[in-house]
């Protein structure tokens, strides 16, 4: 497949291009292109979690029950204040320790715990080996928690922005409380929430460049590997430090993703505005 594409491109551009084309389609580069999937999965799954946590956080924040309201405010205010990189490093490891703690309570015998005092986990059965995909899931959840806090704030504000008269009118027409919440408040809320959510999405999209911190072989890590200087012919093409070239490609990738996102949000906004009176 790739060979035939190269052939046709060489025919089109001339023989000088062959080496370059073969270089950017070698196995290492192909793995780089394929690693975009981690970025996309993290962004999309992270966004899904963020909306979920956002709705939950917003619902808690305006709950009639005071303790729930406190939990909602605590979540939104504390998590928003923690740098995303820090939380991103903290959460997966803390979660792993927590799971291992649960395992150690159920799987380790008392003798094992006594004989392995000081080492963690106390027995092999409680060991949780984190691998690439586990890290990816944990990364998505961390993104969800961090950006969910921002989304909760946006959604909470948007719910407040829904004209009170609309809800009163709905109530007057005999809709139940639940129906009023879902069919009027949440339905109309999107119009006000989308501009804010699009901001949160942009932040989340940019944060996907942190995946390599968790040793996920994402586009940033591969760009690093590909651009690193190589002086050993056996290891592939000999070249000096080319990282800036690869980072430049990543710049372009992220800018393209941003432009694409803007389009999608425009479309979503138009959809959310259907049947709504022009809001100003």
């Amino acid at each position: 497949m790739i060979e035939s594409i190269i052939e046709s491109l060489v025919n089109l551009l001339g023989e000088d291009w062959r080496a370059g084309l073969e270089y950017i389609t070698n196995g290492k580069h192909m793995m780089w292109y394929a690693s975009i999937r981690f970025t996309l999965i993290a962004a999309i799954a992270g966004a899904a979690f963020a909306v979920l946590f956002g709705l939950l956080g917003a619902a808690l924040k305006q709950s009639a029950i005071a303790p729930l309201r406190w939990i909602g405010s605590f979540y939104v205010n504390i998590v928003r204040g923690v740098p995303d990189v820090l939380f991103f490093l903290f959460f997966p490891l803390a979660f792993e320790q927590f799971v291992e703690y649960i395992f150690s309570r159920t799987r380790c015998t008392a003798e094992e715990i006594a004989s392995n005092a000081g080492s963690w986990p106390p027995c092999d059965a409680a060991q949780w080996y984190l691998e690439g995909n586990d890290y990816l899931i944990l990364a998505c959840v961390s993104f969800g928690i961090v950006y969910g806090a921002f989304a909760a704030n946006v959604i909470h504000g948007a719910m407040q922005a829904v004209p009170h008269g609309q809800l009163e009118a709905a109530q007057a027409y005999g809709f139940t409380k639940k129906q009023v919440f879902w069919r009027f408040k949440v339905r109309q809320m999107w119009t006000y929430a989308l501009p804010g959510l699009s901001n949160v999405w942009m932040l989340l999209l940019k944060a996907t460049s942190l995946l390599s911190l968790l040793q996920i072989a994402d586009i940033v890590l591969w760009a690093d590997r590909l651009g690193a200087p190589n002086y050993l012919a056996r290891a592939g093409m000999v070249h000096p430090d080319w990282r800036w070239k690869y980072y430049l490609v990543l710049f372009v990738f992220y800018i393209l993703m941003t432009m694409l996102s803007e389009r999608v949000f425009d479309w979503l906004q138009r959809r959310a505005n259907r049947g709504m009176v022009e809001v100003n």
């Binding site: 070698n26 192909m30 060991q127 949780w128 080996y129 040793q215 590997r225 290891a235 430090d241």
Partner: protein
């Protein structure tokens, strides 16, 4: 949420069971010619080939995983893999946490590399920017001996240190001779060796958790075999153009099996050449 937690717990179960039958080797994958990623995106290098050979002889199923250098010992202890094979020199400090096998590469002096044309007074280094990879024996040496009056810069990855030397951000780079040699040779004269070699640390060996004595026994047995029949010397020669270090007089009394293997390899080579 529940489903997700369930999948996570299941994944944890699956991986715990899995890790028991396969021996996992942790390596850096960025330290040519020891271990690196070739243009096909696959791990290659001296240690990848030697590791495969050791596992074949010890009748173990093995796989290599990539791990950053600075967390390579903690992640061995955490059980992410069972063996470190990443050009790691034996030191007293590391012996406190890691159990080492017999060496598979002799103690190798570290060398300084610099941009060609720069002159240094090695008896009295002052006001220089000196680089090394972090958490290495070289980093320890610089911190202990040359911190006064010089600036020490430590890098996460070995290739970053080379890139910074090439860019003129550091005056000197201290690293393993075996790593710097291809850099100097491939730099087209821009980077050269300077000054005397410095002997730091011992030979290079496999690192394992202290409790895995059975695995260490198997590895040492396999290492003894490859040393005795000259396989290791040949690999060292192929990758580093050095040696022989390990083969004894018994080399002449090679086993029938290894002779046959050699003949086979030669035949393959001849066929390859004919094709060309």
């Amino acid at each position: 949420m529940k489903k997700l937690l369930l999948t996570m717990v299941l994944a944890a179960f699956a991986t715990t069971g899995f890790a028991a039958d396969k021996v996992r080797f942790g390596t850096e994958g960025a330290y040519a010619p020891w271990n690196f990623m070739d243009d096909n995106g696959k791990l290659a290098g001296f240690e990848i080939e030697l590791g495969a050979e050791l596992c074949r002889r010890a009748k173990l199923e093995c796989e290599f995983v990539v791990n950053e250098w600075d967390s390579i010992i903690p992640n061995l202890m955490a059980g992410n893999y069972d063996v470190i094979m990443a050009g790691m020199s034996v030191t007293e400090k590391r012996k406190e946490t890691v159990m080492f096998s017999d060496e598979y590469y002799p103690a190798d002096p570290s060398r300084y590399a610099a941009a060609s044309g720069d002159k240094f007074d090695f008896d009295n280094l002052k006001g220089k920017k000196i680089g090394a990879q972090g958490a290495t024996v070289q980093a320890g040496y610089l911190e202990a001996n040359l911190k006064e009056g010089n600036t020490i810069k430590l890098y996460e990855k070995p290739d970053q240190s080379v890139a910074d030397l090439a860019a003129g951000n550091i005056d000197l780079l201290l690293a393993d001779d075996s790593f710097l040699k291809p850099v100097v040779d491939g730099s087209g004269g821009n980077i050269v060796f300077v000054g005397p070699g410095v002997q730091i640390g011992g030979g290079v060996a496999l690192g394992m958790r202290p409790k895995d004595t059975e695995l260490a026994g198997k590895m040492n047995a396999a290492l003894a075999e490859v040393k005795k029949d000259g396989t290791l010397d040949n690999m060292i020669k192929e990758f580093f153009k050095k040696g022989p270090f390990y083969a004894t007089e018994e080399k002449s009394a090679m086993t029938m099996e290894s002779l046959l293997k050699k003949i086979n390899a030669l035949e393959m080579r001849v066929k390859e050449l004919e094709k060309k």
